[in-house]
């Protein structure tokens, strides 16, 4: 179908463009936000590939946790220039127009499409079955990895001497 092709090209163009911009942008904060857009493009590709559960998981974990964490660290190491509020009426009106166009496009595409029950969509209960029967051990190990990463990151980053706290 032609809509699938258009969607694929637009979303993969967004992904690749955001990936290049995240590495080549002058300002590292823009790069961190572009990384979030890369993850968003990847989630779009996952949706086209009929893996919507993984797409939502990617949005929640990678954008909601990883990209935010990276943005915190970019702010902490003081790499980006810290913006003052600059009044730019052209940029503001362009942003408002873009937001309205996006909302209208999404709304029209939702209303005018005929979403029906999936004939034979992906079977998500299979993921649960795998995770609890065949890969249950891997889930436990993953939980241990999370705990280890948490303890390790805290141990690395904690301030333990008073002069370090004064220097910070």
């Amino acid at each position: 179908m032609i809509e699938e092709d258009i969607a694929f090209f637009v979303i993969s163009g967004l992904t690749v463009g955001a990936a290049i911009f995240s590495l080549e942008s002058r300002n590292v904060i823009y790069g961190a936000i572009a990384l979030a857009f890369t993850f968003l493009g990847l989630a779009g590709l996952f949706i086209i590939l009929n893996a919507t559960f993984i797409a939502m998981f990617q949005i929640i974990v990678n954008i909601g946790a990883v990209a935010v964490l990276i943005l915190f660290t970019v702010m902490l190491v003081g790499e980006g220039t810290f913006f003052r509020e600059v009044r730019n009426p052209v940029a503001r009106s362009t942003g408002i127009i873009a937001a309205v166009v996006l909302a209208l496009t999404l709304g029209i595409s939702f209303i005018s499409s005929s979403f029906g029950p999936l004939g034979s969509g992906p079977n998500y209960t299979l993921i649960g079955t795998y995770l609890t029967s065949q890969y249950a051990f891997s889930i436990e190990i993953l939980a241990l990895v999370f705990g280890t990463a948490l303890v390790g990151a805290l141990t690395l980053a904690k301030l333990d001497k008073p002069e370090q706290q004064k220097a910070q």
Partner: protein, 101 residues
């Protein structure tokens, strides 16, 4: 029907971008970006093969693990960067030379 080679070429392009960033960049935050892009390209590969050749959801289960592990590893990398910044007042990795020689 989109042939699978289109998804694989997007994954290859992302992998090339990530590898270029990992090799060329000196800013530690750019290295983190490049690593996350590499992980994303591998995940896309898994999901593409799972969707085209596999009637099951095994690839999606694997990508679930991969995303979670990528997140925890990014946390540890950022903790190391924070400590290095605290000791060096900069995140240029070409200046971290005290273990050289």
């Amino acid at each position: 029907m989109i042939p699978i080679t289109w998804y694989l070429s997007v994954s290859a392009i992302l992998f090339a971008i990530g590898a270029y960033g990992l090799i060329t960049k000196r800013n530690a935050m750019r290295l983190v970006f490049a690593i996350e892009i590499l992980i994303g390209s591998a995940n896309l590969n898994f999901i593409a093969f799972n969707s085209y050749f596999f009637a099951d959801t095994l690839g999606q289960t694997f990508v679930l693990f991969s995303i979670a592990l990528g997140a925890s590893e990014a946390a540890v990398i950022l903790a190391i960067i924070v400590v290095a910044f605290r000791l060096h007042r900069g995140v240029d990795v070409s200046e971290l030379k005290s273990l050289e020689g």
